[in-house]
């Protein structure tokens, strides 16, 4: 009767990042002639809410499902249910501890954050104090980006000390206040890493409100405020993933799996460092979103 249904259960939907994933998914949906729905909980702690969403999505008898797991194990019983109903599952953004998903479309957040660490080190001359304003203490992305950054500093940049890690929930205003407190606590701070869009903008804001000079800010993800800050020179640069690509590849793999075609198990959608110098380069501009 209707078009094929491919629901995507993500980790959120309100943030720019997820909206970009959705845009990519919608694009693939239009090209491939399938109906794509996109949904996620309000924040990345709500593991059981996500399961209720997954359950509701399964009730609609989709041909395939895209799933960005908040917890690597919690959803396994439901995924088994999908498997029994012969609904292929494509994992995106974060995988699960199970071989049920036929593919994973994601960014290597650890490696991406390590790149941010390298860039930060380069910018501050491989010595001094830095801090992290992270968006979450427990979610996969929050932990990976924090650890990727901190561990890289420990391993490769012994002159740099990560003096503080605070969590602002990705809330712009909270991250702003955190940044101001960090700068008060560590007047000699040389750099701050914000682990997602809200955190990064918060850092920029805090620095701007205090009028501090000489703080190197490295961000993550894009969005207009972040690209503006980079153009203005307030932010040194940022890591961007390819969220549009993640959404696009997820739906494409889902449709292929539904049709019984082979899909590659690992779809790495990549990440990029962008700053003032390459922000307008076509390959970067293609993965940035506003």
């Amino acid at each position: 009767q209707d078009k094929m249904l491919v629901p995507l259960i993500s980790k959120g939907f309100q943030h720019q990042f997820w909206q970009a994933v959705k845009a990519g998914a919608d694009k693939a949906g239009a090209e491939l002639g399938v109906t794509v729905t996109f949904e996620g909980p309000d924040n990345e702690t709500q593991v059981d809410k996500q399961m209720d969403m997954l359950a509701a999505a399964l009730a609609n008898k989709p041909v395939a499902i895209g799933f960005a797991a908040l917890d690597s194990q919690a959803a396994i019983p439901l995924l088994r249910q999908a498997q029994e109903a012969k609904i292929p599952v494509i994992a995106f953004d974060s995988g699960v501890d199970s071989d049920i998903p036929v593919a994973l479309a994601s960014t290597d957040n650890v490696a991406a954050a390590a790149l941010a660490a390298d860039k930060m080190a380069e910018l501050i001359g491989d010595a001094g104090k830095v801090a992290v304003v992270a968006h979450d203490q427990t979610s996969r992305t929050g932990v990976d980006r924090r650890d990727g950054f901190v561990n890289r500093m420990k391993e490769a940049h012994s002159g740099i000390e990560v003096v503080a890690i605070e969590y602002g929930g990705g809330d712009h205003l909270k991250s702003t206040e955190i940044t101001k407190a960090l700068l008060a606590a560590h007047p000699d701070l040389k750099g701050i890493f914000g682990t997602n869009e809200g955190s990064a903008i918060g850092v920029v804001n805090g620095v701007r409100e205090l009028g501090s000079k000489g703080i190197t800010i490295v961000g993550y993800d894009s969005g207009k405020a972040q690209t503006d800050a980079i153009r203005e020179g307030l932010m040194a640069g940022a890591i961007t993933q390819n969220p549009v690509g993640i959404g696009y590849e997820t739906v494409k793999a889902a449709v292929a799996a539904a049709k019984g075609e082979a899909v590659s198990a690992n779809i790495d959608t990549g990440f990029y460092w962008y700053d003032k110098s390459n922000i307008d380069a076509p390959e970067i501009a293609a993965v940035l979103y506003e």
Binding site: G40, T45, D71, Q73, A74, P77, T138
Partner: protein
């Protein structure tokens, strides 16, 4: 004749009372009927089970907090307390490798103890319930993260743990009706609390405290002790909710829980319990919790855009309570 007239009209009042619940139930029926018409996938056994399962955790929390709300208090810590109970269960079962039963008892005991502490804040130290339980909420939130080292604790080494919420005793007997154990537990807890409220001294004092605490105190009742008992009982029920969510997720997620208090309190109020205290029913709370999860699930099954889901949920909650109000207005 006048006597007869009185008796008749009393019966009418009684009927009115029953109708009242029937009417709240009617909102639920209207929702279910509407969604069933709108999507063929809604009224399927598996989806109904999913809705019931989704109600279980919030329902148990709501039943617990109903007790406190009837006393005229409020408990903001229920969400993080649930999480903390789950975490302590994880410590006992996974880290210490104790047997399942001990884990279950730990969860309930942890809940009761924390409830008792909140109760002490409120009854003995005269801290307003809002602040006492807000403080508790923050402390428990932090403690869950500290105890776990911010990582989830998985229950893979405890066979049967996931059966607590996800298995189906009923399904084994009546395979066509695979009601998950979580739902069974919700109904058992509800029945038990309804019994306590309706039949026991504790229940009577729960209502009396909410109705006029000073009058109860001046009747020679040790109101402080009873209040603490009620908070402890509600805490123990949060412990059960902690077991349910841990079993559903097969893990104790330390960061979960914030925001659950609002949802549970909303279910209670939709169910007709007054935040001013003194009145309320467990049946109403159950219906309130079901209305919330039917709404959420139904809108999802209908593939309504998430931002519109929020708007529609808000509007329907207001409308449902308004319908209830209209009916009451007509009766009174």
């Amino acid at each position: 004749m006048s006597e007869r007239g009185k008796v008749m009209s009393i019966k009418e009042t009684r009927r009115g009372g029953a109708q009242q619940k029937l009417w709240a139930f009617a909102s639920l029926i209207v929702l279910v009927a509407g969604f069933s018409l709108a999507s063929p996938n809604f009224f399927q056994v598996s989806n109904i089970m999913a809705i019931l399962q989704a109600t279980s955790v919030n329902g148990v929390l709501a039943v617990g907090v109903t007790l406190i709300i009837i006393t005229g208090g409020i408990d903001l810590s229920i969400g993080t307390l649930m999480t903390f109970c789950a975490v302590m269960t994880g410590v006992v079962l996974t880290w210490a490798g104790m047997p399942l039963l001990l884990g279950v008892l730990t969860s309930i005991a942890t809940g009761a103890l924390c409830g008792l502490i909140s109760g002490t804040f409120v009854a003995k130290m005269k801290i307003p319930p809002f602040i006492a339980t807000l403080g508790m909420m923050l402390m428990l939130k932090g403690l869950s993260l500290i105890v776990t080292g911010t990582k989830p604790i998985y229950f893979n080494d405890t066979p049967g743990f996931s059966e607590i919420a996800q298995g189906s005793l009923i399904g084994r007997i009546v395979p066509a009706f695979p009601v998950p154990n979580g739902v069974l537990i919700l109904f058992i807890v509800s029945a038990a609390v309804a019994w306590i409220l309706g039949r026991t001294v504790l229940g009577r004092y729960t209502f009396a405290l909410g109705s006029n605490e000073e009058a109860v105190r001046l009747s020679g009742v040790n109101t402080d002790a009873w209040k603490m008992a009620i908070y402890a009982l509600a805490g123990g029920i949060c412990g059960i909710a902690g077991l349910l969510i841990a079993s559903r997720l097969n893990s104790a997620q330390p960061a979960l829980g914030l925001g659950y208090e609002l949802e549970a309190i909303a279910a209670v109020v939709i169910g007709g319990t007054s935040l001013a205290g003194g009145r309320g029913t467990i049946l109403g709370t159950l219906i309130g919790a079901l209305i919330m999860s039917v709404l959420t699930n139904g809108l999802r099954v209908m593939s309504v855009a998430p931002e519109w889901q929020t708007v529609v949920t808000g509007a329907i909650i207001v409308a449902a309570v308004y319908a209830d109000q209209l009916r009451r207005g007509r009766a009174g």
